[in-house]
Amino acid sequence: MRLSADQLIFWQHGFIKLNGTIVFTWGLMLVLAVGSKLITRKLSTDLKRSRWQNLLEIVVTGIEKQIEDVGLKHPEKYIGFLGTLFLFVALAALCTVIPGYEPPTGSLSTTAALALCVFVAVPLFGIEEQGLWGYLVSYTKPTIIMLPFNIISELSRTLALAIRLFGNMMSGAMIVAILLTITPFIFPIFMTLLGLLTGMVQAYIFSILAAVYIAAATRSHKPKPALATKT
């Protein structure tokens, strides 16, 4: 029994392997990129628009509103990164209904790569917002003694992001695989449904946590000006 799609080799030449994770990841990327390109070829701003454009607009405005709720003031700066994270993980979970497909996020390599992207993006957004010195100073808040703990928390929450997503996806696939050998008729369907639900929740969690980390890094620590008193 294999743990993830890493051991599913489609093609091999020497030590270069084309395993299931790579193939499914590129498949998802193709679907997302080509689909969006096709839908956004003829955008219309008047009342009559295609249903696909409506669908994309619902998704984009929904994600923007969520990012704004988390505390990021200008969601259009971050929606490229955060929206892509959410859409990729959500589509990877949704496509489990297709037979023969295994979610690439069920492999620790994919989730570690996504977590590393977040790990790199948080300081980038923080430096862009506060400047290099301002961002580095934020590590010493509230006191300088917290500096090692802040660094450790950066590393550990990246690790937690990767393992959380990997564990959820892998456990969903494995539960269904084990159940298929025990009670193969109706019960695995319910576990697949549960796996779909947890997949969508984990996609939401991943992107919301990334947004929260970015909000924490870009939040300026300047004291607010005193409000004018009413006369």
């Binding site: 029994m1 743990l3 393992i163 990997f166 892998m170 456990s171 494995m174 984990q202 939401y204 969690i205």
Partner: protein, 93 residues
Amino acid sequence: MTIIAVVSIVTAGLTIALGSIGPALGEGRAVSTALSSLAQQPDASATITRTLFVGLAMIESIAIYCFVVSMILIFANPFWNHVIAGAAKVAGK
């Protein structure tokens, strides 16, 4: 060789058993507090629901860590693989 197998299996079972107790209790408390605050302030339900789900995912990840460890012990056990490789080499000689 059997010691490795026995200890791996027992540890895998114990890991997931003990590791699910804490998160289950924590999630129960979190949901009950969320329900009572929803009853007190129903118009903040969007924020409460979202925060509840984020909190539940963080708590759940502890159980997921234990599950991953027990899966590794059962299916991708490095010590067992090492022992099997050694036995295969001895048998092939």
